[in-house]
Symmetry: C2
Subunit: 194 residues, 2 copies
């Protein structure tokens, strides 16, 4: 199975000294259980849903093909909610349109999973992420794509916030990414892919 | 430092149950020594130098920027030498032109390293890879880009060939990628980047 993981710095695993992030951890765990997975990590730091909308198809097209068992995982949203010049980098309705555009196009080609944005140490930004994550869940339900709410589960993770604070204020280290990976690994939609 | 690694399945780390490959191993080792590295693995299975020539700039442009300390590492060549329909997938002179085109463009933007193709268990293909690797070394010397000959060093690696044979005939497992990583980690040009 060949899987492209598209998203932001959290998909990239920025801050993880083991260079795996959550995506690398779930694929390594599956490989070590004997599954044959080709792992393409296409997370890019600072990218919003608008930037992802513009690049995912070109990057997926040279890595995946209907000849192989090809899959797509998306995870983004935090950067859309970042404030710059007293407005968010992407406004709420555009974030929703971008999600809808990406997933509707993607599901026509390959099986797709959507993993929601994690929390940050910024309380006000977290309110915006919580709002976006809830709406993302609704959109995914309507278009029949499995959605994982990581925000709610990671809100109660001490290590996620502790490592982010000790790191650059946003990205955890190996422990936080392990927590994130555990949430995905316990998700029935991920398990059903294996 | 943000590093994009462009290449083929050997860059991707195909066959490595730890999902790191040699590129992930050298970055993880550097991070664990305290270096701040953002690791972008852009190896794609089956890609030749022609396919790389067509995609590297678009994929690098959304990940790197002159605002950050940005670097490029390339490693390809094996797929060019694969025979299909009694000719190689890319002919020798086109392979050389592609290398020259990629590296001349890349060095104008960011610091660049070139890592040569490794050996395979196929003796005839290895003759072609050895020839290509020697010519790649010459091209790199002429345009002043550091080139690492992995072919000669991995030829004497028992684990590289043993794991490739036990795997899919081409790609090693964790031990072979660790050998490859050790060769890069002992290379003065990589060490001078850290």
């Amino acid at each position: 199975m060949r899987i492209c993981f598209f998203g932001d710095s959290f998909v990239n695993g920025t801050g993880d000294p083991e260079c795996l992030g959550w995506a690398g951890r779930i694929c390594a765990a599956a490989c070590q259980q004997g599954y044959d997975i080709t792992y393409y990590n296409l997370g890019v730091r600072r990218q919003t849903s608008t930037e992802l909308k513009n690049r995912w198809l070109a990057e997926a097209s040279c890595r995946l093909s209907s000849e192989f068992d090809s899959r797509l995982v998306f995870s983004f949203g935090v950067n859309d909610t970042t404030q710059e010049d007293s407005k968010t980098r992407v406004n709420f309705s555009t974030s929703i349109e971008n999600l809808s555009h990406i997933l509707n196009s993607a599901k026509q080609i390959f099986p797709v999973l959507m993993i929601g944005p994690p929390p940050t140490p910024d309380r006000q930004q977290n309110q915006r992420i919580a709002h976006l994550s809830a709406e993302y869940a609704d959109v995914c339900q309507k278009i029949d794509i499995a959605y994982l709410d990581t925000f709610t589960q990671l809100q109660s993770s001490t290590i996620w916030f502790k490592e982010a604070a000790a790191n650059d204020g946003y990205h955890p280290s190996a422990g936080g990414y392990t927590e994130f990976a555990n949430i995905v690994q316990n998700w029935s939609s991920w398990l059903s892919w294996l």
